[in-house]
């Protein structure tokens, strides 16, 4: 009995002690500076990696199962292996630090508080890819962060980790921070490349892919901040060990940035084994819904992924527990599921209006459309106007179908994924909250004074027999 109980407690502790790899040293004062970072095991991975061959590093990253942390979730090792290596043509690693997806602020956290972890990841990745000049494209609004990064780069350089002939390997590497100037679209890799070339952020047609013709038509790899930071623990513990953390194809750890109506908004590192319910209600993470209110809805992976009502967020349509990982969040596809995306976790309580929230997102995408493709340029504006009408009590019932029609005509008909990013939130809001939209139309006056409320959105899911 006694043994059984202590086993249970041990098991409980193991379950509660989620593995941290990126924010492991978050509590250490001064970890932002070189000396403290180095004393706490910093640049150990770089030492190890610089003794390996670039191919061996790529192999470790492949084995780790690391998937791009910017939103698309594409396997990083595979992306690296596509990089063309023609003789005599320089190639570049470009870090996408444009972080602009509403709900997402995790890269900011890494760069602000763990700049050396990030730079170590950049150095190892640059070595693996043969990039002698690496750029960090950071959104212009994060105006104070380039100073932090440049200070860390100078410290790294003074200690021999950047510059010429690093650690006597013959490898040269410089890292430059390049500021953008306010354009969500520059988070799309080809728009980012255009912007880095000093142009408008208009996405390019693919192919050719950046791996063949990227910045200045040279082979280029574009990776997110968190992705590159994750290369450090991968080298430290090895790709195979990294792949053991998490579940299935969701390997390693993931940073989540939580916002909206929770008690503890902020950045959390999870190992992708906890349930959505635990993530929202446990004190280790979000600490429950703020002000004693109830959970109504959530966008789990940044504003462009489908919004889910409380019941479908916590359980899948099959009535199974939903977990915080790529596969489980996606369970049910677009009909009853959502996506991990960028990890921007937006929580709405029962006093929030889904129509108004969707309207702000439509306004965002309309503002951020580059204007190249007409379905996106025109469609995002129409969606915003129609949503504004519905929200302000001037909508017609046919507007809801019209919205549906417009989002369908944007989806898949644009050069870059901004079209989809704009269409999906509208589609999912109508799919799951249609009666809230209809209530705005049928109650134009009442809807200006109160919100629709929780309604049936948290009711237990009916699972048909045999499903």
């Amino acid at each position: 009995m006694g043994v059984g109980l202590s086993d249970a407690i041990c098991c409980f502790l193991v379950l509660k002690m989620a593995r941290k790899l990126l924010l492991e040293n978050d509590h250490i004062e001064g970890i932002r500076y070189y000396d403290t970072y180095r004393k706490n095991g910093g640049y150990r991975a770089a030492e190890k990696a610089l003794k390996m061959t670039p191919e061996e590093i790529v192999e470790e990253v492949k084995k780790s199962g690391l998937r791009g942390r910017g939103g698309a979730g594409f396997p990083t090792g595979l992306k690296w292996s596509f990089l063309a290596k023609p003789d005599g043509v320089p190639r570049h690693l470009v870090c996408n630090a444009d972080e602009s997806e509403p709900g997402t602020f995790k890269d900011r956290y890494l760069m602000e508080f763990h700049p050396h972890l990030f730079i170590e990841g950049l150095l190892i990745s640059s070595f693996a890819l043969g990039s002698n000049t690496t750029y960090v494209y950071i959104r212009g609004e994060y105006a104070w962060i380039p100073d932090i990064l440049e200070q860390a780069i100078a410290e790294a350089k003074n200690n021999g980790w950047l510059g010429k002939n690093i650690l006597g390997t013959g490898f040269d590497c410089e890292i430059y921070v390049h500021r953008g100037a306010g354009a969500y679209i520059c988070g799309e890799e080809t728009a980012l490349i255009e912007s880095l070339e000093g142009k408008r952020g208009n996405p390019r047609m693919k192919p050719p892919f950046p791996a063949v013709q990227g910045v200045w038509m040279r082979p280029t790899v574009v990776n997110n901040v968190e992705t590159l930071a994750a290369v450090v623990p991968i080298i430290n513990i090895g790709g195979e060990e990294y792949a053991k953390i998490g579940v299935g194809r969701s390997t390693g750890t993931k940073l989540l940035s939580v916002c909206g109506n929770v008690n503890k908004p902020g950045v959390y590192e999870i190992d992708m084994t906890c349930s959505v319910e635990e993530f929202i209600y446990s004190d280790e993470y979000c600490g429950g819904i703020a002000n004693g209110r109830k959970l109504k809805a959530c966008i789990p992976g940044g504003s462009s992924v489908p919004i889910l009502p409380a019941n479908l967020l916590l359980k899948t349509a099959k009535g199974e527990t939903r977990y915080m990982n790529y596969e489980s969040l996606n369970d049910g596809g677009f009909i009853t599921g959502s996506m991990m995306g960028s990890g921007g976790f937006i929580v709405l309580d029962d006093n929030q209006c889904v129509v108004r929230h969707t309207m702000t997102l439509a306004r965002f995408y309309n503002h951020e459309s580059c204007g190249q493709c007409s379905p996106c340029r025109e469609g995002t504006g129409w969606m915003y106007k129609i949503l504004k009408n519905i929200e302000t009590g001037k909508g017609k019932m046919s507007d809801i179908d019209l919205l549906w029609d417009i989002q369908r005509k944007i989806d898949g008909n644009t050069i870059c994924p901004l079209g989809e990013a704009a269409a999906w939130p509208v589609a999912a809001a109508i799919r799951h909250f249609r009666d809230e939209f209809e209530w705005h139309v049928t109650n134009p006056e009442e809807s200006q004074n109160r919100n629709f409320g929780l309604a049936h959105y948290a009711d237990p899911i009916h699972v048909p027999a045999g499903a």
């Binding site: 212009g140 609004e141 104070w144 408008r200 916002c259 909206g260 908004p265």
Partner: protein, 165 residues
């Protein structure tokens, strides 16, 4: 105002240009426009853009088309303090609309307008990546987060005092 960078700024400009491959100096355009906007009155007048074009040895139109694309470049004069309040989804959930209304009322200006004394411009902004610390605004190089009406009062007071000294 003479449109010319100081010696020190020119050094900074040349350092920036050196970050990019030979002949690809146009890549320094956005960083240069940030410097130019900071140096020449907080916005990009045509002569300023022409000056940047001249430094980078590119056509003026190449500068105009970029300057007009990016939100952070102001194409007309703005107040001494630009209050950019985010109002996208996550900030809206935490009351950013009330903050914007409060600033409007307090300063007697609408979105995009500047106070008569040229001190403040209000600009509702789209997501600035501070969603967990909402509501928030960008003020120059910094973010002001967890905004309340009291904080707005204090901030505006501070900025007024700072400018009158």
């Amino acid at each position: 105002m003479e449109i010319k960078f100081s010696e020190q700024k020119l050094k900074e400009v040349n350092e920036l240009i050196s970050h990019y491959p030979e002949g690809k100096q146009k890549s320094a355009l956005i960083p240069l426009l940030h410097i130019a906007q900071g140096e020449f009155g907080g916005w990009l007048d045509t002569p300023v853009m022409d000056y940047v074009a001249e430094i980078l040895n590119i056509l003026p139109i190449e500068v105009y088309e970029v300057a007009t694309f990016y939100t952070m470049f102001n194409m007309k004069p703005v107040g001494k303090h630009l209050l950019e309040v985010c109002h996208t989804g996550p900030c809206m959930l935490n009351g950013s609309d009330d903050i914007i209304d409060y600033i409007k009322e307090k300063l007697g200006i609408g979105p995009g307008e500047t106070t008569a004394d040229g001190m403040f411009t209000l600009k509702p902004a789209e997501c600035l990546g501070a969603c967990g610390y909402a509501p928030m605004m960008q003020l120059g190089k910094t973010y002001r987060e967890h905004l309340t009406k009291e904080k707005i009062d204090k901030l505006i007071e501070e900025l007024r005092t700072q400018s009158s000294n």
